[in-house]
């Protein structure tokens, strides 16, 4: 840790910054901090504050205490389905898309021919906007004209893949996984390339099978990538919005927390306070994961 010591020493020494330096720093560091404060952290705090009020955005702000929350938990029929769907989203991305992405990365990384082609193709859905993914989903799954019903030959008795509230969330999850898999694959692929090949050779010399090597040697070495994939998966699951909004504005079985927030402010009845309460629920869940991640990061920084 000689570097840290040097850093400390440097700090105690005379200031090295001239007046011009300080001006540059103030402006160019102040601007992004200000932007982030006003447009990200300020609104986050405001969301928390507004969630305890009853406000339609125009009139007086009235204190409502925990009223919004009790209303939300007990008397808002879309809330629990939305929570359930967000959890399903998390499960699908985490248990289906992420392992599948890892599998694909491991296969592509074996250096088969055309691996560049596979890599590009599998990654392609990731560059599409989620709204476009939503529209393509409709093209395939719509009841009367959809490709899937045509493929199954069930035009007589068509399945309403996206209209049936018991069925549509699964179909949407499939579309979400289609996009998430490639993302995970690329991250793991880069991680796998950076794993020291001598590790694998050592394991092979010790008589480990390919599978053992992968799960006991390579995967633990990929810990940092695992952490990111975990964070991305959680964040994507909590942010999920565009696909369902493009399909049916998040109604009829496709409720999500993000949709409820949006509906409460852009809708006719603008219920700012109530929408904020839903946002706070979203914030609390995500904050749990963000803090865990940052603590890990911080430890990593200290170790350096």
């Amino acid at each position: 840790m000689p570097k840290t010591a040097a850093r400390r020493a440097g700090r105690r020494g005379p200031r090295r910054h001239t007046r011009r330096d300080l001006a540059v720093l103030c402006v160019l560091l102040g601007l992004p901090i200000l932007l982030d404060l006003v447009l990200v952290w300020g609104p986050t705090m405001a969301s928390i504050g507004l969630s305890f009020t009853d406000w339609d955005g125009v009139g007086d702000i009235e204190w409502a205490g925990l009223g919004n929350y009790t209303h939300l938990f007990t008397d808002y029929p879309q809330f629990w389905p939305a929570v359930r769907n967000n959890l399903l989203w998390l499960a699908a991305l985490g248990l289906l898309a992420a392992p599948f992405g890892l599998l694909l990365a491991a296969l592509v990384d074996r250096g088969v021919r055309f691996s560049r082609f596979y890599q590009s193709t599998l990654y392609m859905p990731v560059v599409l906007s989620l709204a476009v993914v939503g529209f393509i989903t409709q093209l395939i799954l719509s009841r009367d004209q959809g490709a899937l019903n045509a493929l199954l030959g069930s035009e007589r008795d068509p399945v309403d893949w996206l209209g049936d509230p018991d069925l549509n969330i699964w179909m949407i999850l499939l579309a979400a996984c289609w996009r998430h898999t490639g993302y995970v694959m690329i991250l793991y692929l880069a991680g796998l390339k950076s794993v020291d090949p001598t590790l694998k050779e050592a394991a092979a010399v010790d008589g480990a099978t390919e599978r053992q090597t992968f799960f006991r040697v390579v995967l633990p070495a990929l810990r940092p990538v695992n952490v990111i994939v975990g964070v991305i998966t959680v964040i994507e699951a909590l942010r999920a919005f565009d696909i369902v909004y493009a399909v049916n504005k998040g109604r009829n079985g496709l409720e999500l927390l993000s949709v409820l927030v949006t509906d409460n402010i852009v809708g006719e009845a603008s219920r700012i306070g109530f929408g904020s309460a839903i946002a706070v629920v979203l914030l609390l869940v995500s904050l749990g994961f963000i803090v865990t991640y940052l603590v890990q990061e911080l430890r990593g920084e200290e170790r350096r």
């Binding site: 330096d21 901090i33 709204a131 093209l139 909590l238 565009d242 409460n264 995500s286």
Partner: protein
């Protein structure tokens, strides 16, 4: 979908161009004969998955080229009697996609440039100047980027309706319903990711150059602009590609902060192709292809940068 990657590359290794995959030896080529069967299995599997992944896109392209009456009658899996670009013309002229594209460019181009400029300076301050609390600053930006957008959307909406703007800037006279609002939020929200990635990248740059510059009496600006920034070109290219795609793809900000349909960016405007009572899915397919095309082209042309941006710092170098 913006999550910063884990730790920076260790300082041991000087900055290599990101994305250029390290020339890695493939171990264990020896027993190839016995593995050939497995190899074909892998190929078959990957090929099947790739085709399955491509199929929806190909279907969208195919559907967009065929008239509605035909696919309604025969289904999508029929041979075409006529292929045409009519829907593309219709999507462009009737629904004015050209204007929406312009809106998107007005947001994404300055958005990317300003974000990269501000983020690169912040990252420089965090990673290359020995400032107090730089770690805290890094956390401040990173955590901000990880929040779900809906957490901040409500107060922003209220805020923007209260901020007056002169007519020449916004014909709604407020920040709400103007491209400025979307631009500002995009920049603020994406700053976190860029700061994080660039700070990680800058830590891998050799310190000696910087110290030499200090000895020569270079000020903060010179050290940033002429000493650090030129070395960051690969990272900036990677982030620029990625950020452009993200800003282009954004759906929510335009939806919430703009009410005038003419101002919508192209991704949010796609919804307009849906009719009130009847949706022509082939038209929607054409619209989707038009919207998707730029990102796919950018991806195919700049694939290296694109992937580098995502994985910059994700692997430990």
């Amino acid at each position: 979908m913006t999550v910063p990657a884990v730790r920076a590359a260790r300082p041991v290794r000087p900055a290599g161009p990101p994305g250029g995959a390290p020339g890695r030896r493939r171990g264990g080529r020896g027993g190839q004969g016995g593995r050939r069967g497995g190899r074909w299995g892998v190929h078959a599997f990957l090929l099947a998955v790739s085709l399955a992944f491509l199929a929806p896109l190909l279907l969208a392209v195919y559907a967009s080229l065929r008239p509605y009456e035909e696919t309604a009658r025969d289904g999508y899996f029929s041979l075409p009697s006529r292929l045409s670009f009519d829907y593309y013309r219709q999507a462009f002229t009737d629904s004015g996609m050209g204007r929406y594209f312009l809106n998107t460019l007005l947001i994404a181009v300055p958005g990317v440039l300003i974000t990269l400029f501000l983020a690169s300076f912040t990252a420089f301050a965090v990673a290359r100047l020995r400032l107090r609390g730089s770690l805290l600053l890094l956390m401040f930006f990173t955590a901000g980027n990880l929040l779900p957008q809906q957490v901040i959307v409500t107060p922003l909406y209220v805020l923007f309706t209260k901020v007056p703007l002169p007519y020449w800037m916004s014909d709604s006279l407020t920040l709400y319903d103007s491209l400025w609002a979307v631009l500002a939020v995009q920049i603020a929200f994406q700053l976190g990711f860029c700061v994080f990635v660039l700070a990680n990248f800058m830590r891998t740059l050799p310190r000696e150059i910087l110290e030499a510059a200090i000895v020569d009496g270079a000020g903060v600006w010179t050290r940033y602009r002429h000493v650090t920034l030129p070395l960051c070109r690969p990272a900036l290219a990677a982030l620029g590609t990625l950020e452009f795609t993200w800003m282009y793809n954004d759906f929510l900000w335009g939806l919430v902060f703009l009410s005038d349909g003419d101002k919508l960016p192209v991704t949010s405007a796609l919804n307009n192709l849906r009719g009130q009572f009847f949706t022509d899915y082939n038209l929607l397919a054409a619209g989707s292809v038009i919207v998707a095309l730029p990102t796919i082209v950018v991806f195919l042309l700049l694939q290296r940068h694109f992937i580098a941006g995502l994985t910059l710092g994700a692997n430990k170098g």
